[in-house]
Amino acid sequence: MITRFWAETATALATLLFGLVIVYGALEFGTGWDSSGPQPGAFPFYTGALVALASLGTLVVTLAQRLRGAAIVNEIFLDRERAGRVLAFFAPLVAFVVITAFAGMYVATIAYLLYAMRFQGGYGWPVSIAGAVGAAFVFYVVFERFFQIGLLKGPIERMLGY
């Protein structure tokens, strides 16, 4: 179980880090003001700094609320049941992207839809297979043939000569 306090803190730390990364990246290009206005790094530098400062602000506010015992920070951000539901949906998305990276978009589409229909939707195998393969075929026709936009291909498509 995660309370809002920890969610707020983690998010603020993440944005703080993001801000600092931007500041670091901007330093390379000069952050001052020369004869022709701000140097190339100035805008990213200040926005990065602002993000970092505002993140600190959120951290302070959150901590103060915690110390004060305000109800809002003790709210439940995510309990086990909800986290389970989100994860059950999100993990296949990650799997889809990983499969896409290695085996191309068509394989990933079929794998993902097959999983989603069979195990999340509770459809039978025949329907799930037909749905997954059918969708991949529709994508192929619409994108590759009709709009002539190639989707990401993997080794299988390359073997077939694409």
Binding site: S36, V141, R145, F146, F147, Q148, I149, G150, G161, Y162
Partner: protein
Amino acid sequence: MKTFSITAAITGAIAFGGAGAAQAWQPTKPVEFVVTSGAGGGTDNFARMIQSIISKHKLIDQSIVVVNKGGGSGAEGYIHGKGGKGDAHRVIFGTNNAYLLPYVAKLGYKFSDLTPVAALALDEFLLWVKGDSPYADAKSFVEAAKAKPMGFKMGGSQSKDTDQTLTSMIQDVTGAKMIYVPFQGGSAAAVQLAGGHIDSNVNNPNENIGQWKAGQVKPLCVFSPVRLAKGEPVFDGKGWGDIPTCKEAGLPIETFQMPRTVWLPAEVPADAVTFYEGVLEKVSQTPEWKEFVTRTAQTGRFMKGKELTDFVAKDDAANKKVFEAEGWIAK
């Protein structure tokens, strides 16, 4: 299967096969045309024009897929080309930025990651001022700019790119000092000049022609060794061929032109290069291509092989000199 394509859906099916003489290398899958500019840019028009000519005359048996990769002033497209090492189904369309970009920015590709195929045209540069400005020729403009250091604003497309390089060359040979204002593209620079917000630009002909027709801007000279082809009059009885070369007009820059180039990734079979050289040479001889070149007031010039590499070497050296003098070379 091609009947599903939009092209086919509206104009009727395009038959397979056709011309494409017996060559040792032939594409065996759809050919990818990588455009190193965003949709609507000069390089985009160049590539899509070639694509339409190729499919109209059936010069390549496979279908062609065009992808725009214009990020980082086109570097994205060249890096994509580098990623296709050894794969001759990836054709990259660009300008001289193919070999110039790696000088001015730290990028993930080197010029040696590309195989030169051909150049099909040279885009010209002209010196333009506002239509009602008092300068009748390049000489008087340069004199006025010299008399008022940092008083004249020259607009152009992007930074450390052709327009700024040419501006720097002009300053070098004349001793004038101007403020260079980088805009997003040539069309913005054209409108800014017409609106009187800048004093001059060095746009390509087709970036400024709309404003010239209305007399909002006027050309002073062209940075080409010879005058442009005589065409129909554009404004006030004057046409492209009436514009003096800059050398004639007393601005001693012999030539500044931008090649429209085609590349393949590194390590592709020599046969494949020959194949595309052949296709592109045929493209350059079609009436459609000639009409396109005339309409956009470019100079049609097909180059391949040694002629191309010599051109590249010369252009590379001339630009590099400016980059070094300006301190643009990325460390």
